[in-house]
């Protein structure tokens, strides 16, 4: 159906999702965007992939903007949703 996806999308855009859950949702979007091209290479690699270093602490609003841009690029956020969420992240 999509009600849960709709809820997740809404919660993330509004910034009301719990921190843990929104990280999960963001990571999902990040993976979707970034790992698609690397997928084959990773699957082919016989050795286990190195464990990714924890992401360095970033300015919150910049990290959020990047995550929103990913969601927008993947089509999960419409132009209007992206614009609204961006404005919110920038505090304008």
């Amino acid at each position: 159906m999509g009600l849960m996806r709709m809820a997740a999308r809404t919660a993330v855009v509004a910034g009301t999702a719990t921190a843990v859950s929104s990280r999960v949702a963001y990571r999902q979007a990040d993976k979707h965007a970034e790992k698609q091209q690397e997928a084959y290479a990773q699957q082919q690699a016989a050795a286990p992939a190195p464990v990714a270093a924890p992401a360095p602490a970033e300015d919150d609003s910049m990290a959020k903007l990047e995550q929103l841009a990913d969601l927008h690029a993947k089509g999960i956020l419409s132009d209007e949703e992206f614009a609204a969420a961006k404005a919110k992240a920038l505090g304008i």
Binding site: M1, G2, L3, M4, R5, M6, A7, A8, R9, T10, A11, V13, A14, T16, A17, T18, V20, S21, V24, A25, R27, Q28, K31, H32, K35, Q36, A39, Y40, Q42, Q43, K74, G75, I76, L77, S78
Partner: protein, 246 residues
Amino acid sequence: MSAAEPYSRLAGVYDEIVVDPCYPLWAEFLLDLWADDPQGVRTVLDVCCGTGLLTAELVAAGLDVTGVDASHEMLARARTLLGPRVLLSQQVLPHLDVDGTFDAAISTFDGLNYLSPPDLRLTFEAIAAHLRPDGWLVFDIHTDAMMSFVLDNPVVSGEDDGYRFVISNRLDPGTRVCDTTIELTGATPEAAFTERHRQYFHSDAQVTSALAAAGFWLAAVSAEYTRVPAGPDTLRATWIARREAS
């Protein structure tokens, strides 16, 4: 306000506010997946086709698609979108009365999460009976990460396309049964409705054993219509199974 039948009212706003533009990406993934099949995939059974948005993508790619769905109202939208030539049929799973044998069956946007575990088994068997040997079954369902998300965010409200909505979930992590209520209000009193939906968060073990019992072998479980293996953060897992050859 009494609750309407699932999808009877949601159908009217489904394409506008529920879905996001995921279907072209999902169709691209499916076509790429099937391109490697030496037998070719020309006929597809779209199980829980809804308003037919993905059906339309596959039809546009030249595939011969038959759509089934439990909701009369969703099928009516699909008929408008797809025109008279695509075969559409109202079927309440696990009952599946369609003609022919297909190269592939799909069920997208967590349609199979509407089935209780016993009905999921029966549905896999019914689908297997309509697939050729080595035929494909590709579907997506919610993951445990989605279950966590729902538990953490039981009530979400928002506004979209002139509508206000509240989505409330009552999820029992023990039984993995989730009752979802959507209350929607629009510009006019007539636009308002409440619907209740019941979904089942199937465990990986349940799905794996149901597939095996129905004569499928599991090729991969990936993150939402990508080649990336599903991980602990995957909210929507895509299961790729093949019918046993004999």
